[in-house]
Symmetry: C2
């Protein structure tokens, strides 16, 4: 089985959980439609799978961590809905379909995002309440994920990204890297770290998970930038070249295509290094997954 | 001392905490400015004070609950920022100053709201991590507050409220009440309930706190509607009559001014009833506070 097939297989359980995780919460119909429209629009479910895999790798109960894993997809989805808004990146398409505010309206899209972010934290805490995970672990993981998603993490990264727009090629690589570490990296890193925390593994393993996540996160962003140049619209589900059109600073714009690919490979090699001390099928899967991220650009 | 003065005195400690609660989180400058602009724009700090008072009333450690209390003001503030956006209520003024998107820009306002909601959950979890509150209690309170703030609570209420706009006088009172219970009531109720949960009091007291919060929340919303008709712009910090202008369903529009005032009084009487079994200064304060809410319309 290829890494892509393995990821798809693991994503199936996440998909089933996501399909019902908003049921019975008293959500008004139109709002629920809008939240589900974006939450169930496909996607690789990379972040939840990273939570589950790191939890399993370190001997934890991945089933108990499922609500927590699902919360990462809620957070990821809310960020996409808000990023697509006219006042932000103004994207009409997302995953090959009208973006949320195009399908519904701006007000509903803003509220669907707000709703998904709030429900994410409800899901996280349910991991303990319903599945018997120790409260201390869950609370620690909520704190880590809250910081990663928040204004010193993903939200902050989006702010900085918008400030960069129109300065293509003028933003130093170091600043670009810092922005990506916040905007994309923080959530991917938190996925791995929270999986480790929920497993109950010692701090040393949590640190390995965090470092793996950081390296994979950087590689992932570089590959995303590269795909915006060399990908095709059908695969991406959004217009190719939109970064350049919006004057966004990207790796290819700053260091060129070939150097960007090399950088992504280097980071994946680094990530795989943090798996060296572990064994078993999850180790194998995470290694293949990390490599697959870079393979997408070939 | 009047209830207003007592509330102001208790709000001072909240104010000091809010002023520094976003420090050292690595928040980009413009985003931090925008978050602080709205978070520190005054306001009565009613929700945090309710958390602290209910915690004290039931014998809990109010100081330890301060980060949690502050999180309610972060959530309340984010909801005001997003509600004021052009795609939502399109309000240019908030508390007598330009609303967030007027002072900054729409993108920054959306992100400041997203950031405040995320930081709220970080603050909630820090209540346990830093102040020694038992993790089980904090986790339970996070779950309650997440639901109240989310798509089955405040966010859902805002969605329904927008659907009502333009149907002034045509929305049945029952539907209006349900909308308010979600939009305004849920957070006020959660403030009281979470204060009780964090105190470690038994379920019976938590239930009393919840019922008190529900009744106060309804009264609070009726009074808000009444003030939009009879208040003055300087006191309110926003244009009078904006509800009617926007075709919003309100209590005065549905049942008239006098009946609205009577309804508010009835609910406050109900709220005070839930305090009957408790003694001490917090009981006295909460009683005065509940009465003060209605007195604002006279």
């Amino acid at each position: 089985m290829t890494a892509k097939q393995m990821l798809a297989q693991r994503a199936e359980a996440v998909e089933s959980y996501l399909a019902k995780c908003l049921d019975g919460r008293g959500i008004p119909e139109r709002l629920l439609d809008s939240m589900r429209y974006s939450l169930l629009a496909g996607g690789k479910r990379l972040r939840p799978v990273l939570v589950l895999s790191w939890c399993s790798l370190l001997g934890g109960d991945a089933n108990a961590a499922m609500p927590f894993a699902a919360s990462l997809e809620c957070i990821h989805t809310y960020s996409l809905i808000h990023d697509d808004l006219p006042a932000m990146d103004d994207d009409d398409l997302r995953r090959g379909r009208p973006s949320n505010h195009k399908q519904f309206d701006e007000a509903t899209a803003i509220l669907a995002g707000d709703g998904l972010l709030s429900e994410a934290f409800v899901l996280m805490t349910e991991a303990a309440v319903q599945n018997g995970l120790p409260a201390e672990r869950v609370l620690k993981a909520v704190n880590v994920l809250g910081r990663a998603a928040g204004s010193g993490g993903m939200v902050g990264g989006q702010t900085v990204d918008m400030e960069f727009t129109g300065r293509e090629g003028q933003v130093p690589l170091e600043e670009l890297q810092k922005m990506h570490a916040m905007k994309t990296g923080a959530l991917i890193t938190a996925a791995c770290e929270c999986g480790a925390i929920l497993s109950g593994a010692p701090e040393e393993d949590v640190r390995n998970a965090r470092k793996f996540g950081r390296a994979v996160g950087v590689a992932f962003q570089i590959v995303d930038d590269v795909l915006d140049v060399v990908g095709d619209e059908a695969t991406l589900g959004k217009p190719v070249g939109s970064d350049a059109e919006q004057g966004k600073s990207t790796y290819p714009a700053l260091v060129g295509l070939e150097k960007s690919r090399q950088l992504a490979r280097d980071h994946v090699d680094g990530a795989v290094g943090y798996l060296a001390r572990y064994n078993g099928p999850e180790n194998e899967f995470l290694t293949l997954l990390a490599r697959y991220i870079v393979d997408r650009v070939y």
